[in-house]
């Protein structure tokens, strides 16, 4: 063969040992090829901005005198982080979402599990219709839903406030005592259906023999649910919990919209609102610092939860 064409390599049989070798290399190559688009996009869209934010968080914009001349950017070390940890408004925003999450996430997931089990039970009628109804709030864009709720809550236009007034109760859903519960209610309304769907899909995947065997052994519907179904959907419950932790830590839509009508919802109500606020008042380095802290905390919480559940049993 004086001249070789690229086709030759494919057409000619090769000895076994080299075959193994090249196929190993080929695997690596195709893996790299297949992963490349993801890797590129992930780097460009996720890693680079995260890296940039971390980088920005170590700098500070300095002005001098009246500040009407050009400004300089100086290395600040961990100054911004020290400021953030001493920033009472920023810290209390964490406490706020934490308080909210501790109550709202279990309530919402309990409700989602209950609805999923009801849909999955033998006697359930109109399964499709109910599934759609439960899922409907999630299909509504978050901001639109929040605007709707802000009208339902605002004292001057709220039908609930008016109805309660008729029976002699004066309730302001946006008062300091109730506003956090009102936000929790909005989140529960919006996300229960979504979580229900994930749990319901997991229930569908349980082999029929399992539940049948339990019924043969004399289990009632509730006992089947408790002893067979719930353990089987544990992975789905863990997944939805992690999603909810991340979602609550990044709570934005509901308080951002409510802040227009609720005097108690400050511009630094949640960590992400506080971050946004820093950017709004042109303190970009501090906003970057706050984002990094929020990301780290979310990471620690969600992975902490995962590790915790794995420790207790096998995580499928």
């Amino acid at each position: 063969m004086a001249t070789r064409t690229p086709g030759d390599a494919l057409a000619r049989p090769v000895a076994g040992s080299t075959a193994k070798h090249t196929s190993g290399r080929g695997h690596t190559r195709s893996a790299v090829l297949l992963l490349a688009p993801f890797g590129l996009l992930f780097t460009a869209m996720m890693l680079a901005p995260i890296g940039y934010a971390v980088y920005q968080s170590f700098f500070k914009t300095n002005r001098s005198g009246l500040g009407l001349g050009p400004s300089t950017t100086v290395f600040a070390g961990i100054d911004n982080y020290v400021t953030a940890l001493h920033d009472s408004r920023f810290m209390s925003s964490f406490l706020r979402v934490f308080t909210l999450g501790i109550v709202q996430v279990p309530v919402m997931l309990g409700l989602a599990l209950l609805l999923a089990l009801l849909l999955d039970s033998r006697g359930a009628a109109f399964k499709k219709v109910f599934r759609q109804i439960y899922f409907l709030p999630y299909a509504l864009p978050g901001v639109i839903a929040a605007i709707m709720w802000s009208f339902l809550y605002a004292p001057s236009v709220s039908p609930f406030t008016a109805a309660l007034r008729h029976v002699g109760l004066e309730v302001n859903f946006l008062s300091d005592d109730l506003v956090l519960a009102s936000i929790g209610n909005m989140m529960t309304w919006a996300w229960t259906g979504f979580n229900m769907l994930i749990i319901y899909s997991a229930l569908q995947a349980i082999p029929g023999e399992l539940t049948e065997a339990a019924v043969m052994d004399g289990c009632s519907g509730w006992r089947v649910a408790w002893h067979v179904k719930i353990p089987a959907v544990r992975p789905a419950l863990i997944l939805t919990t992690v999603f909810s932790i991340i979602g609550t830590a990044q709570l934005f839509n509901e308080p951002a919209v409510l802040s227009q009508v609720a005097p108690t919802v400050s511009p630094t109500y949640t960590p992400i609102l506080a971050t946004q606020q820093s950017a709004d008042i042109n303190n970009y380095n501090y906003a970057a610092t706050q984002s990094v802290i929020l990301a780290l905390l979310t990471f620690v919480l969600s992975f902490g939860f995962l590790k915790f559940t794995q420790r207790k049993g096998t995580f499928a």
């Binding site: 914009t61 300095n62 002005r63 001098s64 005198g65 009246l66 500040g67 009407l68 050009p70 400004s71 400021t83 605002a154 001057s156 236009v157 008062s175 300091d176 005097p263 108690t264 400050s266 511009p267 606020q277 950017a279 709004d280 008042i281 042109n282 303190n283 970009y284």
Partner: protein, 424 residues
């Protein structure tokens, strides 16, 4: 492929001298303009009709304090800002401090004489010029004539009379209130301005911050007193809920600037003929002191490729007779250009206000507005903190004077953290 059209440049009718608008290669240039005032687009349309060589592309953005300024600042930071933006005098220092504006003195200096002196001071620092003034915000009391008659009150001459009137109205009808409390930094700033106080000053290359000055404290205590007695409500003026309550006869008046007139008439057309304007209530009987709320400039944002053409348009917007007349009619501005203040549009009776020539009141107010007011370099932060504090005070958490004190502290802290010199 390419055909270069040779364009005949039409000379602008404004007195800006040179009007060679097109770029050096003879192609028409496009200048982007972000504004939030209703009616700016009409002036832009007039310009585009008569200036084929400089096309202005207008985009409506939210008002500054509810996101518009952040949008502009972020665009500058990202390097894709429009050439022109509408920025209130109150936030100009903020924009200058963040390096978001171009110095346009070389194109704008010649126009200085066309504007009311204090507005030019608002838009310049030393010999640098950062914007062309558009309007000012002289203030007055807007009130419902029919309801004032019903509750037997006359337009209050002093703030004491005003408090008495608030009591009279609310006693007569527990669901009616004379007005609402100041809602943000611009409201309370304007009332301080009228009372003769100052929030900021500069001397020896240092900022003085006196947000908790005696006058602001006095204003704060006054409104807190009305709040404590539940004689006023606390909610944002001129928004949906506010208009509804005015319509239901639950709110009778507001102290606001001249630009509120078209907002009231457009949103409450059915109340035509039932409104009038009176001078602001006074702290000292017999005086005519007025505050100024708002007023804005057209600025050239950092990175603009055509600062000369942008400045040319901005100057025309503020001085051209047709443009200013349109802004008076549609936006309700009170012009910053001296020529604009003599236009027939700011000197005629208005049917909506029962045939009153409301500009008489605003002209007097403008003439009695002190001109030494200075805005600080971190007004975005001041506005945000003040709004939050006032909202909470309105809801019964904390008081207005306490909000003022805490904004004083947070402002000094914010300025120092940026390395600015604060002191006396």
């Amino acid at each position: 492929m390419l055909t270069v059209a040779s364009l005949v440049t039409l000379s602008a009718c404004s007195g800006s001298g040179d009007s060679g608008g097109s770029s050096s290669d003879g192609k028409p240039v496009t200048v982007e303009f972000w504004g939030s005032a209703v009616g700016l687009d009409k002036s832009v349309a007039l310009w585009n009709k008569s200036h084929p060589d400089i096309k202005v592309k207008y985009s409506q953005i939210p008002p500054g304090s509810i996101g518009g300024y952040a949008k502009m600042q972020n665009a500058v930071k990202a390097g894709n800002a429009p050439c022109l933006g509408q920025v209130g005098y109150d936030t100009l220092s903020n924009f200058i401090a963040t390096g978001a504006l171009e110095d346009i003195s070389q194109y704008a200096d010649s126009s200085k004489g066309n504007f009311v002196p204090w507005t030019w001071q608002m838009t310049s620092v030393g010999d640098q010029v950062f914007g062309i003034p558009v309007d000012t915000g002289p203030m007055a009391l807007y009130y419902r004539t029919d309801l004032f008659k019903k509750y037997k009150i006359s337009p209050p001459k002093t703030w004491d009379d005003f408090a008495a009137a608030a009591e009279k109205v609310h006693t007569a009808n527990p669901s009616a209130y004379l007005t609402t409390t100041p809602q943000d930094a611009y409201d309370i700033g304007a009332l301080t301005w009228q009372a003769g106080g100052k929030w900021f000053g500069t001397a020896n290359d240092r900022w003085q911050v006196t947000i908790d000055n005696p006058q602001t404290k006095k204003v704060g205590q006054y409104w807190q007193g009305l709040l404590d007695k539940k004689l006023v409500t606390s909610e944002p003026m001129l928004d949906t809920a506010w208009f509804k309550e005015v319509q239901d006869g639950q709110l009778l008046s507001l102290v606001s600037a001249v630009w509120a007139a078209p907002l009231i008439s457009k949103n409450l057309p059915e109340l035509s003929g039932k409104w009038a304007v009176a001078p602001m209530p006074q702290w000292t009987a017999g005086q005519q002191a007025a505050g100024n709320r708002g007023g804005s400039a057209t600025v050239v944002l950092k990175g603009c490729e055509h600062p000369k053409q942008a400045t040319e348009f901005a100057t025309w917007l503020s001085t051209n007779t047709d443009s200013v007349t349109s802004l008076i009619k549609n936006t309700g501005i009170y012009p910053a250009a001296t020529s604009g203040q003599n236009l027939p549009a700011v000197d005629q009776p208005s049917a909506y206000f029962g045939g009153q020539n409301i500009y008489d009141v605003f002209k007097t107010a403008a003439a009695n507005t002190s001109t030494g007011w200075v805005w600080g370099p971190t007004m975005s932060q001041v506005q945000s903190d003040m709004k939050d504090g006032l909202k909470k005070a309105g809801a019964g958490q904390g008081t207005i004077p306490n909000a003022v004190t805490s904004v004083q502290d947070s402002t000094v802290a914010a300025m120092k953290s940026q390395g600015l010199s604060v002191g006396n």
